[in-house]
């Protein structure tokens, strides 16, 4: 009633969680159809890395210092941008090839967050609302949060980050987080490279697919059932507005290349609230939480969630309270 009055909405408006289950099914199906091709693309790239990129070569390319590796990973996120779903199999493969988990994780977060396509879509979405300022602030704040997270990752040991089944594989490239798949090469088939590539792609795709399904289900339920207007009354508040932006990003689970279009239209939100939405969303949300769980320990994912959202909030509040 309070929110309805604040918004001048009809008092018999929709309830906060009035879920239409057929609509949830449609949204779920749509997210699967959108995400699965990119997941497959990520698995294919991962398969190519497995077959054609020797582990030693990757190590030669990497800076010796892990801290420098964090900045290199952020640069790679700009030069080799990927969507959130596609990055997951590639990151898992890079770790198996010997890339330090801290560097791989930073790349996993940077690829969607600093993605040039995301910046371009931000320009288009905000073209009537000071687009260059929005791009600059989105990029800058995302980079600051990524540096903070990257240096946290550097301090962690691999066994504090990776799932036990992932660690068991060590640096062997034939191990995956997909224990269901036992690949036995056909007797007499001498297709070495193709066989390795096929097995690698199938393992990575089916290994992460389960987590995409769980994440898509969570995203479909909240994006369909949550009344967005409930956050409107606090969207202009200097303290609560950014929190509302972060919360909305967690529930809607949008891709970094389209999130700007949605939030640009959300007039009840202040600019800092919109920025909080754009910075926090590509780093972690309900869908990504499950995708990250496919390779990383729950404690790491929970820590990442807390730190990513906390750092976003601090950066946005510093901007809001600037002299």
């Amino acid at each position: 009633m309070f929110f309805a009055a604040a918004l001048d909405l009809p008092s018999k408006g929709p309830p906060a969680l009035g879920i239409s289950w057929p609509d949830v099914a449609l949204s779920f199906f749509a997210i699967l159809m959108e995400g699965a091709p990119f997941l497959l693309l990520g698995a294919i790239i991962s398969g190519l890395v497995d077959v054609f990129l020797p582990a030693g070569l990757i190590k030669d390319w990497l800076p010796r210092s892990k801290a420098q590796g964090v900045f290199a990973a952020m640069g790679a996120g700009i030069i080799f941008p990927l969507c959130e779903c596609g990055a997951m199999p590639i990151v898992q493969r890079l770790i198996r090839k010997g890339v330090p988990p801290a560097v791989s994780l930073t790349y996993m977060l940077a690829a969607p967050a600093l993605n040039p396509l995301a910046m371009f879509s931000t320009y288009l979405a905000f073209r009537n609302q000071d687009p260059w300022l929005m791009i600059l602030l989105r990029f800058l704040f995302s980079a600051v949060v990524l540096v903070f997270l990257g240096f946290w990752f550097v301090r962690l040991r691999p066994e504090q980050m990776l799932r036990a089944d992932f660690l068991m594989g060590g640096k062997r490239t034939d191990q995956t987080p997909n224990p269901t798949l036992v690949l036995t090469p056909r007797a007499g088939a001498s297709w070495g490279g193709l066989q390795q590539f096929t097995g690698s792609v199938i393992r990575d795709f089916t290994g992460v697919l389960l987590f995409l399904i769980i994440g898509a289900a969570a995203a479909a339920i909240f994006s369909t059932g949550f009344n967005r207007n409930l956050l409107a009354p606090i969207g202009q508040n200097i303290l609560l507005g950014p929190l509302a932006g972060i919360l909305l990003a967690q529930l809607l689970c949008l891709c970094s290349t389209t999130d700007a279009f949605i939030i640009a239209a959300f007039t009840p939100f202040s600019l800092p609230a919109k920025l909080a939405f754009l910075v926090a969303g590509p780093l972690i949300d309900l869908k990504l939480y499950w995708l990250y769980r496919s390779a990383f320990k729950p404690s790491l994912v929970h820590g990442l969630w807390l730190r990513a959202l906390g750092a976003t909030l601090v950066v946005i509040l510093l901007y809001s309270f600037r002299p």
Binding site: P14, A25, S27, A125, R186, Q195, N229, C255, F261
Partner: protein
């Protein structure tokens, strides 16, 4: 015999799951159901991924074979493969043709229903300006909203006969609605234009209507709100593109 069957089933499971995903993807694309799921930019990817999954399934069967050794907890492992399959099949079977008015209420981000949309492509507005002024200009709901953002455009279209297709939205006051899809149906947002005058009917909520009327832009709290003063309404079929994409 049971053991051998279990091993064969476990071997075939990845190929079955990938082929099923490929079949659903290709069927969704070829049957046109993709139009209510994804924006045009992403549709071709579904076809490519469907084809790639079929190729992968064939390669898997060619290059690998069933494990000769007995596999522990076979049924549990088969259950895991089913988890990759059943949600997809259920979603494909249970998905309705469009989103409901309940979801439209929850996803709407403005009481006016117009101010919350960013500026869309102006191509439709430009085309409408080029049409014969003696005939109703074919426009989309979003074109009228775009016009309402610019005083100069309002001058050109205020009082102009227009022809608009959209979903009937009953609510407190009758509106004509279209869903705008940025990426997929999960992020679709409703865009509405008020309808005034004699609407005829009765019309069902979320029924597709072909509306002809006069465009008006009355000011509410200092903001021009597009409105159609209806002169004729008739039911129509769902358009090929039920969702609009920017």
């Amino acid at each position: 015999m049971t053991d051998r069957l279990q091993r064969q089933l476990l071997f075939l499971a990845p190929a079955i799951v990938m082929s099923a995903w490929a079949t659903v993807m290709l069927h969704t694309l070829l049957a046109g159901h993709i139009n209510r799921l994804l924006s045009p930019m992403f549709r071709s990817y579904v076809g490519i991924a469907g084809g790639a999954l079929l190729v992968l399934s064939a390669l898997y069967l060619m290059l690998y074979q069933a494990n000769a050794a007995r596999v522990a907890s076979t049924w549990r492992q088969l259950g895991r493969w089913l988890v990759l399959l059943l949600p997809l099949l259920a979603a494909a079977a249970l998905s309705p043709a469009g989103l409901s008015s309940a979801t439209a209420s929850l996803r709407s981000t403005s009481t006016a229903g117009v101010a919350a949309l960013p500026q869309m492509s102006t191509a439709g507005v430009t085309d409408a300006l080029d049409t014969d002024p003696n005939l109703p200009a074919p426009m989309q709901v979003t074109d009228l909203i775009t016009v309402s953002h610019t005083p100069a455009m309002i001058k050109k279209f205020d009082g102009r006969a227009v022809h608009v297709i959209g979903l009937f939205s009953a609510g407190d006051s009758p509106k004509l609605m279209r869903w705008i899809m940025w990426c997929c149906a999960a992020d679709a947002q409703p865009a509405t234009v008020k309808m005034a005058g004699s609407l005829g009917g009765p019309w069902k909520d979320q029924q597709w209507l072909d509306v002809t009327g006069i465009a008006r832009f009355p000011s509410t709290m200092g903001q021009p709100i597009p409105e159609i003063d209806v002169t004729a309404v008739k039911p129509t079929d769902e358009p090929d593109e039920p969702f609009l994409s920017p």
